[in-house]
């Protein structure tokens, strides 16, 4: 079992090397899809065998790595990590299937995505600060090139913005890591980067505040929270479809994951201290981003703003200091991964067929691509929290928990969430319906528009089936997440 987790993390890396060396297009595609499916089944096996009643981390591997600096290779998962791993592995399978028809430098493309997969799986399973940071930064270079090489018109600008913003956050994160490691060293005389070692400390308030701010800055850029969110719309708009899918589904979760895994347990008092600030930023993000989304005519940009808005709900739930809210926040991470992935696929598909992201070029699509119309609707409903789909459970739990301690904040945020239905339905209407906007020219051109192909349908279904499953039968998922929430909230 322990071995399985390590295999799941490093198989994609091996695959990346193989794909980069063997310069055969077919080979790259087959290897990527089969390896990522294999990884998914491994993670699924771990997920099903996860003991949600036991406390602490499971499937732990710990090897001495750099003894003189107190760094070890330490991986393991808790309820949140295994759920996110499952979602990550699934989204990667989906992204690889989606990329079946990629023609531009396919080997490099798949190698970079496989590299990215190792980094993403690693971030969620690392239990050592050094290892965590290694994976955290490890995702930066592949993503940079994915946006920069396969993106749209302003790809270089977007890639640079993405890199500089993220790097900005992570250097502060690094300083934060260094500070608490040094504090641990000065207190105990033992230099250790181990997460579980530091979990036992209670730091003085000043250090907690400093650590919270430094870590928080790193996480906030990644989530992204308002006002450091401006890289996200650009990165999403310019990234290739599969890049957007991974960016929205997995990379954004690293930030919220960081808050739950590191900020809350390591700096509990500082976290309480900063609740008003975080709430303020979250609510601003929810409402402001939703309003920005309503104002967009570029569908990818609209979905990007909707991500920011939803991540606001996650940070709100994370800091509500309530079991239900935290469960909901983690649930939302997984649910949003599924729905935003599917939404970006829809947008990407539309672009592939019609070569435009702008609503004014799109009206009346539903008649020509009926399968997409159905799946697009389902992904959107999953995103806006329609009952029966995963997003509903998440939002319900978050607001239930937040309302208990902070009714006013919950109310304001809840109003903001209503806006998500507005922007999605508005977009759907303008893209899929409104047949009266169809011009003669467009009618002629769209007559032969091809609907979803098999690999498209498959990658959609993977995500939507899980979204349904999590929406209709949330109990086992909530129980597994609760394993994390309980220890994070201390009891």
């Amino acid at each position: 079992m322990e071995l399985l987790l390590n295999l799941a993390i490093f198989l994609p890396l091996v695959g990346a090397v193989a794909v980069a060396l063997v310069r055969k297009e077919k080979f790259a595609k087959v290897v990527s899809i089969s390896l990522s499916s294999l990884v998914f089944f491994m993670v699924l096996y771990l997920f099903l065998n996860f003991n949600w009643q036991a406390q602490g981390f499971q499937y732990i591997t710990r090897l001495e790595w750099i003894p003189s600096l107190g760094i070890s290779y330490h991986v393991g998962v808790d309820g949140m990590a295994i759920s996110l791993l499952l979602m990550t592995a699934l989204v990667f399978v989906s992204a690889f299937l989606w990329s079946w028809k990629v023609e531009d430098r396919p080997n490099l493309y798949f190698a970079l995505f496989l590299l990215l997969e190792t980094a993403c799986l690693g971030v969620f399973s690392a239990l050592d600060f050094f290892l965590f940071y290694l994976f955290w930064e490890g995702m930066l270079i592949p993503m940079y090139f994915i946006i920069g090489l396969w993106g749209h018109d302003r790809k270089v600008y977007a890639a640079n913005k993405f890199f500089v913003y993220t790097f900005f956050g992570s250097v502060f994160l690094l300083l934060g890591l260094a500070s608490i490691v040094v504090y641990g060293y000065m207190m105990t005389g033992k230099l250790s980067f181990d997460y579980t070692f530091h979990l036992g400390f209670s730091y003085p308030l000043m250090l907690q505040i400093a650590g919270f701010l430094l870590f928080g800055l790193g996480f906030a850029v990644k989530i992204p929270m308002w006002p450091v969110h401006t890289w996200l719309p650009d990165a999403h708009v310019e990234a290739p479809t599969a890049g957007s899918v991974i960016l929205a589904a997995v990379l954004l979760k690293m930030g919220t994951f960081g808050f739950v895994r590191y900020s809350l347990p390591l700096f509990p008092e500082a976290s309480k201290h900063f609740i008003p600030l975080i709430f303020f930023l979250s609510v601003v993000a929810i409402i402001y981003a939703a309003m920005m989304a309503i104002a967009q005519t570029h569908i990818k940009r609209l979905i990007a703003y909707s991500s920011i808005s939803h991540m606001g709900v996650v940070t709100l739930g994370t800091f509500a200091m309530d079991l239900n809210a935290l469960n909901g926040a983690i649930y939302m991470m997984v649910a949003h991964g599924l729905s935003s992935g599917a939404l970006f696929m829809s947008a990407g598909f539309i672009y592939d067929r019609v070569h435009s992201y702008h609503m004014e070029d799109l009206g009346g699509l539903a008649r020509y691509v009926p399968k997409l119309a159905v799946l697009f609707m389902l992904s959107g409903l999953a995103g806006i929290g329609f009952p029966g789909l995963a997003g509903f459970v998440a939002e319900f739990l978050v607001f239930l928990g937040t309302y208990k301690n902070f009714p006013l904040w919950a109310f304001v945020a809840g109003v903001g969430v209503v806006l998500s239905a507005v922007y999605f339905l508005y977009m759907y209407k303008r893209v899929m319906f409104e047949e009266e906007t169809l011009s003669e020219y467009r009618l002629e051109k769209w007559k032969h528009l091809k609907d979803l192909e098999t690999h498209h349908t498959l990658s959609f279904l993977l995500l939507i089936v899980l979204a349904f499953l999590m929406g209709l039968y949330p109990y086992p998922f909530v129980k597994i997440l609760e394993q994390t929430s309980k220890y994070v909230l201390g009891g």
């Binding site: 920069g148 790097f167 690094l174």
Partner: protein, 460 residues
């Protein structure tokens, strides 16, 4: 006499003499043999390091060896050997074959090697001069290249200022302490402080810290590129190993921290800002060296073994990354008409995927992205700065490294994300260059994943 401690330097000197004498009789067509011979000399010195018993002092206590400075010498010898291997093809292709070039880098290395062991200001001055004069020659020895002469001259003039400051500083040092031996003198007086100021300025000039950096961009740009590689690696390593020793004698002065902080802050921010307006990648990397000088000086802001160990690790790996990137540039420069202008790097990935990837690896290493080894140095410096509660400096370091990311990225963008406009004839990588690049990139990656292989050897 304890000759044992001098074995590596003696080996080096013997090698220099041998190559020198052969050079007198050999004609130009033996240039390649001579160069490879002299590239092997540091390897023998490296092996002879194992014969040295340490810690020990000798030659009337002028000369000291310890575990740390032996390690520094090992790094220095490896760097010298690699940069010599990388020189041969460049000069041949450029039609600028001077057989003297085969041993002058060794003379510079001899000077640097002595510098690391020096315990007396006279020996320091002599060894610094030996190294500097050889480097002036290296910079200017380039046939029919006006820029190289100008660079050499500028370097010489600035270097002469450093020499005079150093001599004056030594004189004041003698006046206030009655000795030229480097020791910890507790009784502070203004003369002693003045001598510190002068000596520190001279060394800062050699380390190319702002405001003593003016020679760096010009010398780096004008020098033949493999020589730039040598300039940006070997002397830096030697200098910081020497700085760490100097720190033990001077750190108690209350001006020390202030001086170092000012130097390092100026270097970091000035260089990282000015690097953005550079049009030549060679100059851009020169400013990157200056910025790194700023980072490195943080490592000797105060006595704390975490800081110094991180510094020595950082500077050693920086030297390899820097040598590697200049070697890549020298390979590219062998193309007809290649000028190191940023635009010449457009679309490099298409033409030379391996070279471009390696260059990107080194540039990402400079930014401080793991798993490249420079990241561990950065992390170590952060930890040391937090440990000594120099938090403002830690913050400045964070800001400076964020600031620096942009200009490195610009080169990467040009190489990978843009299409080339000009077509150049292809450049071939010679065996020596391949060896250097392979070893540099291998070390940068290996020590990033397993830093303790080197880190544990740095015992202070």
């Amino acid at each position: 006499m304890n000759w044992n401690i001098l074995i590596p330097e003696l080996t080096l000197s013997l090698g220099i003499l041998l190559v020198f004498i052969l050079d007198l009789f050999a004609s130009k067509k033996h240039y390649r043999t001579l160069l490879y011979m002299s590239a092997l000399v540091p390897v023998f010195s490296l092996l002879s390091l194992f014969l040295v018993q340490h810690p020990a002092k000798g030659f009337f206590d002028l000369f000291e060896v310890s575990a740390v400075n032996l390690l520094g010498k090992a790094v220095l010898y490896v760097l010298t050997s690699l940069s010599l291997f990388a020189m041969q093809d460049y000069y041949e292709k450029k039609g600028s074959v001077y057989t003297e070039l085969s041993y002058i880098p060794l003379v510079a290395t001899l000077g640097l090697s002595l510098l690391m062991s020096s315990a007396n200001l006279v020996l320091t001055l002599l060894s610094l001069e030996l190294a500097s004069i050889s480097m002036y020659l290296l910079v200017s020895l380039f046939r029919e290249e006006y820029l190289s002469k100008e660079a050499g001259f500028k370097y010489l003039l600035m270097g002469a200022v450093a020499t005079s400051m150093f001599s004056l500083g030594s004189a004041f040092y003698y006046a206030s302490t009655g000795s030229l031996f480097l020791k910890e003198y507790r009784d502070e007086n203004s003369l002693f402080t003045l001598s510190l100021l002068l000596i520190l300025s001279a060394l800062a000039l050699k380390a190319s810290a702002v405001p003593f950096h003016f020679w760096t961009p010009d010398a780096y740009e004008g020098a033949p590129t493999p020589v730039t590689g040598y300039l940006s690696s070997a002397p830096k390593v030697a200098l910081y190993f020497f700085f760490v020793q100097l720190l033990t004698y001077f750190h108690h002065l209350k001006q020390w921290l202030l001086l170092l902080a000012v130097l390092s802050l100026l270097s970091m921010f000035y260089a990282n800002a000015v690097a953005y307006v550079q049009r030549s990648v060679k100059r851009l990397l020169a400013y990157s060296t200056i910025a790194h000088a700023g980072y490195f000086l943080l490592g000797i802001a105060t006595v704390e073994s975490t800081l110094q160990r991180a510094l020595l690790f950082y500077v050693s790996l920086y030297a390899f990354a820097s040598l590697g990137s200049f070697v890549i540039m020298s390979v590219l420069e062998k193309k007809e008409g290649f000028s190191h202008h940023l635009l010449d790097y457009k679309g490099l990935y298409k033409e030379h995927p391996v070279l471009a990837s390696l260059f990107a690896l080194f540039l990402f290493a400079f930014i401080g992205i793991p798993p490249m080894a420079l990241f561990v140095g950065k992390l170590g410096l952060f930890m040391g700065l937090v440990e000594t509660l120099l938090l403002p400096l830690a913050f400045a370091f964070v800001l400076a490294s964020i600031l620096s990311a942009g200009y490195y990225l610009r080169v990467i963008v040009l190489m990978f994300l843009e299409e080339g406009e000009r077509r150049f004839p292809p450049a071939r990588v010679s065996v020596g260059e391949a060896l250097t690049l392979l070893l540099c990139s291998f070390l940068v990656l290996l020590l990033g994943v397993f830093p303790h292989l080197l880190y544990d050897l740095i015992r202070l």
